[in-house]
């Protein structure tokens, strides 16, 4: 094991809910404490803290500043923030740890989607000159992607429904999931279209949630955790923004990120994908070359709970937790940013 080996040694997440009465920072405070406690790390020993959130999601400029209270930023701390899913905050912390001067980091991601209307707000995430003024909304873009996938012959509507059924069934075992249960594919296929060919169940739920992770390096990781979830590889890649200028039926950036992270296509015990619309799971499975019987989204994935800005980091936690608890040896977690899989991150983890 090299000194630069970095592992997940602590974690905690809130159950995702349709609407939390607590504010975002009130959601964060207890789980940050819980993650540190699980790692047995005193807050004051943390070498670097990094958070992921989105001002527009929280509903105001500088909204991220309030979340600093969850980090325990007094006395002053070495800390940064990305306007991205917490998975990228973890990336920044992972980079920082490789400097060699500190050996622990605290990472968190959070978001309350309940106060805003996603079709209004995320529509402003698109090119402000050419797309946003047209009123292009994320559900419609996802619908276009789904249509393209059907037309390519790579998937059928039944495949979409099977993704939903599988994820909701898996979610029954996840106390943090929001949408769970047994649904027959036939029943799902009878539901009306919302953005053809997408039906309501092909969409992610609207969720409020937060997640925290503790990272440690080398010997410190071993001291804090009996079975650290070592990050064997971590990479992310972005694609062209204009949806008309890329193939929406494939995820080349996910394939590239996985390769750069060192994924060799071999078997993995668990895979967690941030596919927020059901067709995206099929696209990502193909991008990663996963076998049909791969253990994908035992947590229920983003279709069961989608705390935007935390969803990707939750995927990392779901994989790490299984390694730390001993039910898995190897895993891959995926996070996505932007719309229709524009930006993708792959985190490969392994136990000893």
């Amino acid at each position: 094991m090299a000194a630069t080996d970095i592992a997940v040694v602590g974690y905690a997440q809130t159950p995702s809910v349709r609407m939390a009465r607590e504010s975002e920072v009130q959601l964060l405070v207890p789980i940050v404490s819980e993650a540190l406690a699980r790692a047995g790390l005193d807050r004051r020993e943390v070498g670097f803290t990094c958070a992921g959130s989105c001002d527009y999601l929280t509903g105001g400029p500088f909204a991220f500043v309030s979340n600093l209270e969850a980090a325990g930023a007094w006395p002053p701390i070495s800390e940064s923030h990305v306007e991205m899913d917490g998975a990228w905050a973890l990336y920044e912390a992972w980079v920082r740890l490789q400097h060699g001067d500190i050996d622990t980091a605290l990472v968190f991601g959070s978001g309350k989607s309940s106060p805003s209307k996603p079709e209004e707000m995320w529509a402003q995430q698109l090119d402000p000159y050419y797309l946003a003024p047209l009123g292009v909304d994320p559900a419609s873009l996802a619908g276009i992607q789904a249509r393209a996938l059907l037309d390519s012959g790579k998937a059928t509507e039944r495949d979409f429904a099977e993704v939903v059924a599988r994820n909701r069934r898996n979610a029954k075992n996840n106390p943090n999931a929001q949408v769970a249960g047994d649904y027959s594919v036939e029943a799902l296929l009878e539901a009306p279209y919302v953005r053809a060919p997408l039906r309501a169940h092909d969409f992610p739920p609207i969720s409020d949630g937060a997640v925290a992770v503790v990272l440690a390096r080398g010997d410190r990781a071993r001291a804090l955790c009996d079975r650290p979830a070592w990050i064997r590889g971590l990479d992310h890649r972005i694609e062209v923004h204009q949806p008309g200028m890329r193939d929406l039926t494939s995820s080349t950036s996910t394939t590239l990120a996985a390769r750069k992270a060192g994924y060799d296509g071999g078997p993995l015990d668990v895979i967690e994908l941030s596919s927020t619309f059901s067709p995206q799971e099929l696209i990502l499975r193909e991008a990663l070359g996963l076998a049909a019987d791969a253990n994908v989204n035992p947590s229920g994935g983003a279709l069961a709970a989608n705390p935007v800005m935390a969803t990707g980091l939750v995927r990392i936690v779901e994989v790490a937790q299984r390694i730390v608890e001993g039910s898995a040896h190897s895993g891959l977690a995926h996070a996505t940013g932007g719309q229709v899989l524009q930006h993708n991150l792959v985190c490969l983890m392994e136990g000893d």
């Binding site: 940064s80 923030h81 306007e83 490789q98 400097h99 694609e239 062209v240």
Partner: protein, 381 residues
């Protein structure tokens, strides 16, 4: 042992109140292209992009880096978006430097920007509500407290305002070129946030700043002299809590000592040749001189009064004209780091401070609670 990080390319836009001649992608490409040319690199040479800006609400685009990926040669590359309020330009530089120092990438483009004319920063700062206080309104009471505590004479702020704008006349990229500015004109200008007057305050600018960062081997091979990153640090503290000192924030003191220690600097006042410090309102020059232990308590304003911080003085501050002369908010922090780098590379042109070998760069943000600092040198460690 971390890799050394070298700054081999620097580019910035002509900062103006309204750059109606370029779209946002055009603004960024202007800075990035200049940085790439300076570095004698192409877009293809860049391994990763780190981008920073102030809150998205300032232009009304959610996560604009997503659409800017196209303009910045981002396809197929990693892209990170940093957001740490006013210090973001500095922390964006630092995140880029970390990618080099950790040996993850060989060449990183770090870019920061703001196109305030395409939005409304006053609306953004007010959270879209009435009774907004802007940024100056938040700092004015603390400035008042500094003046009362130190007994500093009222003209110190005016002096800084004049100094920075006259320095800016030597910086072709600066937004404000006010050749006729004097102590009198500053004193007579409208009161905005008592005690801060209009001419003591930063402008609202459109602008971008980009740097090309690379490792030791490439830095040594570069055609032009590189600037070498001797130290970086970020420190944050809670913005508001009982007993907090917002005038001399502890995070600012600790951040400074962190970079001084890393760079082996014992007496910053003597061992730093030139400083680029985020001074958006005149009084922040003496306040940060004290807040980073360059001057002792109550001595910061005396450095200003005696002319120490002039370009010809013993501790030149903001030879570029600083934030008081150009303030594309998201980029302002990176401009400090870029201008500090230009100084130690000997490439600051008319606003070059002779013999600048060690430079301090500082950016701050939020309720004076986020700090990003670096020491840049003209040689690797």
């Amino acid at each position: 042992m971390a890799e050394q990080c070298a700054v081999i390319g620097i580019g910035q836009t002509h900062h103006k109140k309204k750059r109606a001649d370029v779209s946002i992608p055009g603004l960024l490409r202007e800075a990035a292209t200049r940085a790439l040319e300076d570095a004698e690199c192409t877009w293809a040479d860049i391994d990763a992009v780190v981008i920073g800006k102030a809150p998205d609400a300032f232009e009304g685009i959610v996560q604009p880096e997503l659409f800017l990926a196209d303009a910045l040669g981002g396809a197929g590359k990693p892209m990170l978006r940093v957001h740490t309020a006013g210090s973001v330009g500095g922390s964006t530089f630092i995140v880029g430097a970390h990618l080099i120092e950790s040996r993850i990438h060989e060449r990183v483009l770090a870019i920061a920007w703001e196109k305030q004319s395409e939005g409304n920063a006053q609306w953004g700062l007010a959270g879209g509500r009435g009774r907004g206080i802007g940024a100056g309104g938040a700092f004015a009471p603390w400035i008042r407290a500094y003046i009362e505590k130190t007994g500093a004479p009222e003209y110190i702020g005016w002096q800084v305002a004049v100094k920075d704008r006259l320095n800016a006349l030597k910086n072709p990229y600066a937004h404000l070129h006010l050749p006729d500015i004097t102590i009198e004109t500053v004193k007579e200008s409208a009161m905005l946030w008592d005690p801060l007057r209009f001419l003591e305050s930063c402008p609202s600018s459109d602008g971008a700043c980009a740097v090309v960062l690379t490792n030791e081997a490439n830095g040594k091979k570069a055609a032009k002299p590189a600037a070498w990153v001797a130290a970086t640090a970020v420190k944050s503290e809670l913005g508001q809590f009982p007993g907090r000192d917002p005038v001399r924030p502890q995070a600012g003191v600790e951040c400074a000592h962190d970079v001084y220690t890393q760079a082996g600097i014992g007496v910053p006042r003597q061992e730093i040749d030139v400083a680029e410090i985020y001074v958006p309102f005149s009084w922040y020059e003496p306040m940060w001189l004290e807040g980073h232990d360059i001057a002792g308590p109550g001595e910061g304003w005396k450095m200003v009064e005696s002319g120490d911080t002039e370009m010809t003085g013993s501790f030149p501050v903001n030879a570029s004209g600083g934030v008081l002369s150009s303030n594309p908010i998201g980029a302002s922090g990176m401009l400090r780091f870029a201008e500090a780098a230009l100084q130690v590379r000997g490439l600051a042109g008319e606003h070059q401070v002779d013999g600048a070998r060690t430079a301090l760069a500082q950016a701050y943000g939020g309720a004076a609670q986020y700090f990003a600092m670096a020491i840049l040198r003209n040689h690797p460690a």
